[in-house]
Symmetry: C2
Subunit: 585 residues, 2 copies
């Protein structure tokens, strides 16, 4: 350490919010260059290399082969798949000296597809899974949490190519199994949840989430084994009912009821249900006005009808309306549509106002899957101070589409019938999904099948964020003194700390280091003669190598201390037994 390029810091960096960010900077692993962009110091680079090696091992075990694409890619292929536009502001775009358009690639689906198209032509060439470990770029609106959401980050992205759906399933399962082995070796808990494939398109899609209360993703799981992130949760609709025997709708005065609670109260007081059960928020149909901004910048107003006991979940709405961006309608939007009476919006009004793309308003009307034919609702009458009771779906109003935008609540049924779900939070650590033929079709990747017929190749995409995982491991492995690395990714196997000013101690420590290195251990050696034991111990705790050997006063008697960074336990060991003891651990 007297020569090692490292300076530990006492103070947390001013811009750090999360523990991993604070500790990785203070312990000398990374250093900020710009918002969400970091340099790697020797300690950090060692941990990163160890994670990458584990990923490489398991990719090789899964039969995947490594390639490497440039970060700087020309626009054309991304244009062909629509991603040049779809990625919006997340993409770093630039021009070369000749005015040619380029981007810093956020992922490389297009490039991998074109490479296979370039080289392969027959089903006999397939299956193939190729991957890279590469620095990627996303111009995040709010880069934060250090490496957890950076603008430059290292990812392993793999892509499988098959000529049949069954082949894709097999390639997918091989990568999925490799991910399980990787996270196990990294000592990271994970839950595999169904996911929405998002802007990437595709069919089967699963995320590996590391469950943690501070995670930025919400997922649902049932006792019976169902797990999905909220964006992928699918509502179970009630059965459609016949409405032949239902009573006609009735418009009633409901002054001063802009909220669901007020509406339910007045309905129960003035208009009790014929069957005697009390009205609840779930009986009301809340109509929420959303504004969608499309890729071309155009703005559309959409009204969403959903049970009054649920809010719109904007993350689910983003998926439902992708690639448009979604936000609540503004006052300006309402001003342009005076027919939408705030607090009293309904799909139908006594004044003849009807929502729907084909209607007089032209405003799209979409509903929650719980709105099915024959369900009756208390809802707005599009007239200030009036609601309508018993408005029956399919009889009294219609809709343009069904959308999954309502929040998921604890107790909602798992779609596979495995019982009610609970909600939890996690951080994404991996994503496997079946792209299907989207990219192959857009870019013309076809091969000849057994019968000499051209078939479009089907693809899978498999990503792990290397630098993100490093941060999550740091986030999960620390205490108030500093980091505590799992052995599989620690920057060094052993940290030898020589203390005091006695030259004889340093000579003995030199010998310990030599014997450990001869036994194959990577050793960090604190040989700084003028630094106090307290500072050295503090640095050792901050840096977080899991095994520490203290060579101090007792060394002259042939005794050193073995310090377990995680448990804090210290045991005395004979100098010449250190290597064997550590090997046994």
């Amino acid at each position: 350490m007297s020569n090692f390029f490292l300076r530990t810091l006492r103070e947390d960096p001013a811009d750090a919010e999360v523990t991993s960010h604070k500790l990785l900077v203070r312990a000398g692993y990374i250093r900020r260059q710009a918002a969400g962009i970091f340099a790697w110091l020797p300690l950090g680079l060692r941990v990163k290399a160890k994670i990458e090696q584990i990923v490489r091992d398991e990719m090789a075990a899964a039969g995947a082969q490594e390639v490497h694409f440039p970060a700087l890619m020309p626009r054309e292929a991304y244009e062909a798949t629509g991603r040049w536009d779809e990625y919006g502001d997340l993409l770093f775009r630039l021009q070369d000296r000749k005015g040619g358009d380029y981007l810093l690639a956020p992922t490389h689906e297009e490039a991998f597809t074109l490479l296979v198209k370039d080289l392969y032509s027959s089903y006999k060439d397939l299956p193939i899974t190729i991957y890279q470990i590469q620095d990627k770029y996303r111009d995040e609106a709010r880069p934060r949490a250090g490496l957890l959401r950076g603008r430059e980050f290292t990812m392993k992205d793999a892509y499988s190519f098959d000529s049949s759906d069954a082949g894709l399933d097999a390639s997918y399962m091989a990568q999925r199994a490799a991910y399980e082995r990787i996270f196990t070796r990294l000592g990271l808990d994970y839950v595999i949840v169904q996911a929405d494939a998002g802007a990437m398109g595709g069919s089967r899609s699963e995320e590996f989430l590391h469950p943690t209360p501070v995670g930025e993703d919400t997922f649902v799981q049932s006792q019976g084994g169902y797990a999905a992130n909220v964006e992928a949760y699918v509502t179970t609709p009630p059965p459609a009912r016949s409405y032949e025997k239902l009573t006609p709708q009735e418009v009633v005065d409901t002054p001063n009821t802009p909220t669901i609670e007020a509406l339910v109260a007045i309905a129960n007081e003035k208009h009790p249900r014929p069957d005697g059960r009390a009205w609840t928020a779930a009986d009301t149909l809340k109509n929420v006005v959303l504004a969608l901004t499309d890729l071309d910048g155009s703005r559309e107003i959409v009204v969403v009808g959903l049970p009054g006991d649920r809010e719109v979940d904007l993350k689910r709405a983003e998926v439902a309306f992708a690639p448009a961006e979604v936000e609540p309608a503004t006052e300006a939007d309402f001003a342009k549509h005076p027919g939408l009476v705030k607090g009293y919006i309904g799909p139908w009004s006594p004044a003849g106002q009807v929502l729907g793309e084909e209607s007089s308003t032209g405003i799209r009307y979409v509903v929650d899957p719980r709105v099915v034919d024959g369900t009756g609702w208390v809802t707005g009458a599009n007239v200030e101070g009036k609601h309508v009771l018993g408005l029956v779906a399919g009889r009294d109003f219609s809709w343009d589409a069904t959308v999954e935008v309502a929040e998921v609540l604890p107790g909602d049924p798992a779609p596979d019938g495995s019982g009610p779900v609970e909600l939890a939070r996690g951080m994404e650590i991996g994503h496997v999904f079946q792209l299907g033929r989207k990219y192959a079709e857009a870019l013309g990747l076809k091969v000849l099948d057994e019968n000499g017929k051209l078939v479009t190749v089907t693809m899978g995409s498999y990503g792990i964020g290397v630098t993100r995982i490093l941060a999550i491991i740091a986030e999960e492995n620390n205490d108030d003194k500093g980091l505590i690395w799992p052995e599989s990714v620690a920057p060094f196997d052993v940290h030898v700390v020589a203390t005091g000013k006695d030259a004889a101690v340093y000579e003995i420590a030199d010998g310990v280091v030599d014997s450990l290195e001869a036994s194959g251990f990577d050793v960090l050696y604190d040989d700084r003669p003028k630094v106090s034991p307290g500072v050295k111990f503090g640095d050792a705790e901050l840096i977080g190598v899991p095994r520490i050997v203290i060579v101090g006063r007792d060394a002259a008697d042939g005794v050193v201390e073995l310090w377990d960074r995680r448990t804090g336990e210290r045991v005395k060991v004979a100098v010449d037994e250190v290597a064997d003891r550590l090997a046994a651990l």
Copy 2:
């Protein structure tokens, strides 16, 4: 090879001019993504990794420590050192979503300087040498020759930091020695030549050139050990002479002598030298008009006086006038300066025209170092059809500065007195130079010295182009059949080729592969059952693994063939001796 992600190609790529480019694409090592931008296929990635490992080994042996900077860097530090502008069109520039300016770093001097400034504060922290192996970007005007001049390329760049000049010398020599070891291990001939530090600034500067007739750099060397690239060659000026006894200048008619040859002929015919020796081109002072374009786009006309037997070397002129760009003056430039009479330009004219910044023309006049006080010249009179004889430097004309822009010719004296130089060509494979305090001063990197006084740190910079070296190795190691890798960087140690359709042969080959892998060899195994021996041998020759084992018909008798790719020699060997024989080689 039945699963390996590789397809060899029969045809050279249409855009390939040089051998390495053709062969690396045809043999499946790299694949073009855009002009000067390539993807790495599994074979290429393996060779690249081997070169990188050799570089890492020798960096570690030289005490350098590895870090890693992002490619995407903010503008500020590059602005502080002037490089944001100086790099001109070579820099890829871009903006993030907030309009912040960024670049794709061509090198990282600024970032390394700021990192050390961030972490270090005392002379006791120094010396330190840190390096990275990283993908860099330069928007070359004419990317060409495949990896030899790409727009994205991998470089090892190291930087040393010292508190004293003596320390810098030691750090510099350590890197220089590491480079010698690296090139020796890579099997690459090299010449170390003095170099100009160019846009980077600095003092001592040496390039490692690989001598080859197709090199794009010209260098000079003497028998006595002097070597320099032509940009760095320094002219030895003749001694100044007294001009007391020299005859006065004489304007003579020299009609139709726009060329030096015509002028010398007419001078010898009509105006023989008083001393009887014939006039030669070296006695004439040729005045060449150059146009300099500065960073701010402004254009300046400069007249350069040099002996008539030499041309202006534009590469040397670029260095002399850096950072301005240099080109010969155009007709338009001449039109703006009617006082410059094409073919008859002189520093002095009977009509009173005198060149020089302080003169009536205001046009800077600079001269070759051979123009010293007391030298007499035949030169133009700035009058159509007239020259002047015996115009004496210092007596009859003066100049604003002396510049090294004349071409170097074989036989010119080495500046260190080690004899005449000869010219040769080479390719740059490494560059070591002393930056000195330029970056530290611009960015405020100071440390406290022994006396508690702040001193500015002095730096060195050391670069090796990893991908460029790979291409040069390919360029130097091939024949008409394909590549022939040196063992130190070959993608595999051994290529086992099983031939024919007999399953027993493939079983024996499986065993050979197993035993070779058990002995620690990396093996590429051509196990393709339906491919003809001819195609397999052709692929093996194209791919260029240096040792090939052919398992064919004789395998049933326990005999295989060992094929040396470089010599073409094939010898029969017993199956169970293959591993030992290869180990012995």
